[in-house]
């Protein structure tokens, strides 16, 4: 449904998007994960037909985003990060207007449908200026759905919402994933973990990792990491564990808690627990701790201090470059 090849966007001298490739299939929810200013918004703007890339090729539903921009725009529902709305209009007027621009038949019915989907039927006649942030987000989403697009591009769809609203929006997006291809961006890890079939980790305009949430964790977890806890005396415990076969290094030891790394593929827990119990310690817990997505993310997107000093630019969001007046 979405196919991107060597896509590059350069603002001045900064590579906002640097030679990225990816694809998304029909019915797939793909998450763009990356810190602010990584190039997520720029990529989404290119795919939505808002701006052309500097080089490379992107197609949506088989249509080129530059050559057949109008065809692409007919097939894409886009919710920009800032959730722009015409605050002087009522919810109905706004959605009907957007529906008409998309040449939707039976606009009035369609407005009712999408309002029902986002659970906002009761506010159909409210002025958008009177709506809360969460409601506006939902109206923005309704706008993206008004023409029943094949592809939904949602830029940070849950930003600025309260926890209850976040759950609501996520449930909604999950449901949409069945029929639409969804590309969403976020910098919240738990969000991609819960929502997405596939994750693209993007940093400084490049895709640094790609995979399902599960296999990303597995792939990057590498060496096994084990945490254990004893109660009572702890003297000599670090030495003891360190001597067990298969244990590579003890990472941390405090108040009876201890974490150690084992060689890849080695199951050292039975050995370690036996050693501890035999030595007379009271073992109360031993478990393996995979590297969390959080840690993977930090590792992948960690700033390389050397590279940073070469680039005097401060890492700004990509939107900064456009407001030049």
């Amino acid at each position: 449904m979405i196919s991107v090849e060597s896509l590059t966007k350069i603002y001045g001298r900064r590579h906002a998007v640097d030679n990225i490739d990816f694809h998304a299939d029909r019915g797939e929810i793909v998450g763009f994960l990356g810190p602010n200013g990584a190039g997520k918004t720029t990529t989404m703007r290119i795919l939505s037909g808002f701006m052309p890339p500097t080089s490379g090729k992107a197609t949506v539903g088989g249509f080129d985003v530059v050559e057949q921009s109008l065809e692409v725009r007919k097939r894409v529902g886009y919710l920009p990060e800032t959730v722009p709305l015409y605050t002087d209009m009522t919810v109905f007027e706004y959605l009907a207007y957007m529906g008409n621009l998309h040449k939707v038949d039976d606009v009035e019915d369609k407005v009712e449908d999408v309002l029902e989907m986002v659970n906002m039927e009761s506010r159909v006649d409210s002025y958008i200026s009177s709506l809360s942030k969460g409601m506006r987000q939902r109206i923005g989403l309704a706008q993206a759905l008004i023409h029943n697009p094949d592809v939904l591009i949602l830029d940070e769809p849950t930003i600025g919402l309260d926890p209850a609203q976040i759950i609501e929006i996520r449930t909604l997006i999950r449901g949409l994933g069945a029929e639409h291809t969804v590309l969403l961006s976020t910098h919240i890890l738990s969000e991609v973990q819960q929502l997405c079939d596939r994750i693209l980790v993007i940093n400084k305009g490049k895709i640094v990792a790609e995979g399902t949430p599960k296999n990303l964790e597995q792939r990057l977890a590498g060496a096994g990491r084990v945490s254990l806890q004893v109660s009572g005396r702890t003297d000599g415990l670090v030495d003891l564990v360190g001597r067990v076969k298969g244990v590579e290094s003890v990472l941390l030891a405090e108040e009876g808690r201890l974490e150690f790394l084992t060689a890849p593929g080695v199951e050292s827990r039975p050995e370690v627990s036996r050693a501890i119990v035999n030595a007379g310690y009271d073992l109360i817990e031993i478990r393996s701790v995979g590297m969390s997505l959080e840690e993977i993310f930090l590792e992948l997107t960690a700033d390389d201090p050397l590279r940073n000093s070469e680039e005097p630019q401060s890492p700004k969001g990509e939107t900064d470059d456009e407001d030049e007046e």
Binding site: R45, S48, G49, F50, M51, P52, L70, R73, K74, V76, Y78, P80, T82, P84, L85, Y86, D88, Y97, M98, N100, L101, H102, K103, Q143, E322, D323, E324, E325
Partner: protein, 246 residues
Amino acid sequence: MRIVWIIAVREYKRYFATPAAYAIALFLLLIVGFLFNASILAALQQSAFGGGGAPGVQVILSPLVFLLLFASPAITMHLLAEEQRMGTIELMLTAPVKDWELVVGKWLGAFLFMVTIVAITLVYPLILNNLVSPGIDQGRLVSGYLGVILFCSTITAIGVAISSFFSNQVAAFFVTLGVLLVLWIISAPSQATGGTPLLTYLDLRSHFYDTFYVGVIDIRDVVYHVSVTALFLFLGSTIVEMRRWS
């Protein structure tokens, strides 16, 4: 064309939802009305002393055109600048709407609003027609109002194009006003030496006052207004497209 009309209707309605538009209309109609009243009184006084002709439609057209020059930047300044500032331009440019359709739709909405205000001023010639005998010159009324409408088309197109360039409405206002005033007086400095053909042609003032105002409908003036409108609408569309690439 359907898209252009949808956008135009939205823009037109928007004027009636904002207090600023009412303020502009009030300002314009109030001053035109006040000056109309003053000229009627002056004419009455003059005729009491047996002098002066009956006032014609000019007593309305003159202040109307001059005030439109100042009111139109206020009417057009937000058209695209506000979309850019609020980010709603992103919605427009990702909807299946061509750049020119957006610009032309915006222009049409603003133009229709201006025409509405101008239409309200028709009440003054109606009053005048009842006051003077044997009535006002109908030819001058028609040519004068046709001229005002074409004039509105031109100045709105200039305003839309300039609004597309800015994301700050105030900047759009002042630049539009500046451009209109320059076009209004552009041939004045060369008048003393007989006039430069190009500057005389560009002169916005002469394309109203020299012909429509005195009851002459000259096709060349129609061409001038239509082509300047088209030029600036093209310019506006180009700017919108260029902003995508920036």
